[in-house]
């Protein structure tokens, strides 16, 4: 009996070409005011849930039970209970929240307020504003270093990375990058900060210790005009192997060798690819395509686009839960 069962299990496992992953993918649809929920096993949309107006950045709580949603036109961050898919409450986000990042302690949420040139730091448990920090014009990208010491914000018109010391609660340094910086992500060890510049068309790799640009990465795709190459979302694999970069209206995701900084490949995805997220096992990359209204699924081992999934209008943010 036991043998039979394990045999059956082995047969089942062997029969699966694509392992059935338990992950769930959440996608915010900016123009539909909804959240699409994709089952990672079947790669189909299982549910579409109504949320606040103009949902953009989304991120998971530290325990994975809640999803934080920037409802930009409602000037709030909504907290959704992923078990019931109900909005539990709102957080006081400041005006027009676009993107945010959660401190490793899970308590402080750093929110970029695009229209008021500040970063609002919300204490999640008490649902109160802890403090605000003045930054440049049109703050957008947010990232917190793995050790929690730094929170960085990119300002799109000032073209800078503002370094917020989370102990001093103030901007202590600024790094100039190329035009219209959109997104920032720290490497897993925190030693480097990767920043995309949409209009500059480049990726800056900044040394965290010196806060100076160490590398500038440029892109070139055959048959795509140079001014259409507009890097936005970035995701780094935990093993330090790859950096994936969404190139906006160039309709490609660039694969960068995170050690040599050489561009290894360009993967064709949907139209105007915006944001990216990796599955917890790092085997899949999900990319939102704003104009074509779908999500591209990329297999990280083979670097192939394996599927595109239709979601709502103007999918913006993506978050994957294990």
């Amino acid at each position: 009996m036991t043998t039979a069962r394990s045999l059956l299990l082995a047969a089942l496992l062997a029969g699966c070409a694509v392992p059935a992953l338990a992950e769930t993918v959440y996608v915010s649809n900016e123009k539909d005011n909804t959240l699409s929920i994709i089952d990672g096993a079947t790669l189909t949309v299982t549910e579409t849930v109504k949320v606040g107006r103009r949902p953009r950045g989304i991120t998971l709580s530290a325990d994975g039970k809640h999803l934080y949603i920037c409802a930009s036109d409602d000037d709030t961050v909504q907290v959704m209970d992923l078990a019931t898919k109900k909005i539990l409450h709102n957080l006081p986000s400041g005006e027009d929240p676009e993107l945010f990042a959660l401190h490793p302690d899970g308590k402080h949420l750093f929110i970029a307020n695009e229209e008021s040139n500040v970063v609002t730091i919300v204490d999640v448990p008490s649902r109160k504003v802890a403090y605000q920090v003045d930054v440049g014009v049109e703050p957008e990208g947010m990232a917190v270093s793995p050790d929690g010491k730094w929170a960085v914000n990119t300002s799109e018109t000032t073209n800078m990375v503002h370094w917020i010391d989370t102990e001093k609660r103030a901007v202590v340094d600024n790094t100039l990058v190329d035009a219209r910086p959109r997104y920032a992500q720290f490497s897993k060890d925190g030693g480097r900060l990767w920043v995309s510049a949409e209009i500059g068309g480049t990726l800056s790799v900044i040394d965290t210790a010196s806060r100076k640009v160490a590398q500038t990465i440029r892109f070139k795709i055959k048959g795509v005009p140079q001014d259409r190459i507009q890097p936005v979302g970035i995701k780094l694999t935990d093993d330090g192997r790859y950096a994936f970069v969404a190139l906006g209206p160039a309709n490609h995701v660039a694969v960068v060798d995170a050690q040599t900084f050489a561009v290894k490949d360009y993967l064709l995805v949907g139209r105007r690819v915006w944001q990216l997220d990796l599955s917890p096992d790092q085997k899949r990359l999900y990319a939102t395509n704003g104009v074509s209204g779908d999500v591209s699924v990329i297999d990280v081992d083979s670097l192939k686009v394996v599927k595109s999934i239709k979601v709502g209008r103007y999918p913006w943010g993506v978050a994957v839960k294990g």
Partner: protein, 400 residues
Amino acid sequence: MRFSLWLPSLMQIALLAGGLCASPAAFSQEAAPTDLSTVRIAYLTQEVEHPPALSNLDEPPADEGLAGARLAVADNNSTGRFLKQRFDLEAVTVPIDGDPAQALRDLVAAGHRIVVLDLPGETPGALARLPEAANLLLFNAGSTDDSLRNALCAPNLLHTAPDRAMLADALAQYLAVKRWTKWLLIVGTRPEDRLYAAAVKRAAKRFGAEVVEEKTWSEDHDARRTAQAEMPVFTQGKRHDVVIVADEIGDFGDYVLYRTWEPRPVAGTQGLVPTNWHRAHEAWGAAQLQSRFKAAAQRTMLPRDHAVWAAIRAVGEAATRTRSTDPAALAAYIRGPDFTLAAFKGVPLSFRSWDGQLRQPVLLAADRSLVSVSPQDGFLHPRTELDTLGHDQPETGCRR
């Protein structure tokens, strides 16, 4: 009328604490506070008499252009505070009977080296030729005259306003995509209407359209009273797909819509309008610029506001990238190959080396909606698709 603008409150406090007086002339004498270096930008415009127009629904705002200057200086200063750079604006409005040339000489005498000209017609070309202007960096943000990019071009003059050729080409590309290639052209009697019509005819040739008939709407009709009677008969003629109107001051053009003999769309200066900026434009972060402008100026951003804003942001961008506030260094960088400007139009903008024109996408807008953005897909160019609009290098008449 002269006044100086005091922008960031921090700087203002620092200045006042430093005992500087508020007279604009004081700037040239006094050094900036020790840890700040200053870029001085002048904005020069002239009051104009608005000719009586039949369509007089919207009053043009008195601060069109100037409000763009104020916002750009504020934007520059918000970046500048991180780099210890300060941007000052001195705005000069010459009265109707005043002399812009003298106003420019006064600015030069006061030590100004960077001047944004928000002046119509060929005036920017004439000012750029003054002996006193030889070492200036001048921006034309107010004139769409093609002559300024050709015979009247000047090495010290850059253009952030699009020229009529760019506007007409942008419209022509869209009409070509729609296959509306037979045009009835209606032209007003003012000289600028004829210049607009000339650009339309040039664009038709470039993009395979045909002006099947050209008619002049003379000023002896009162369209508001008689448009219903006049316009249907007036638009009768050879078979056409679209009516193109050349009426820059908005005298009669709005009365063409819905009154044509055949059911035809209207484009040009009214109807579907090619423009460098429009309130319906919200993509590529433009929504943020629109709301920032609205909060500051209490009205929507107009094309001249954006052209002035782009000129002053170009100076700010150069100061950021070069970490310099020296006007000569800024001018060299702005004209150089590395300069690009993010101006909420989806692609990086830069200045054409052959005539100083800012290459930029052109919006095609109806009153309440953005219809399209040119260059259209499929109009290719070896350098950048933006150079399919306006005067390209091989055809330039600029010999500077």
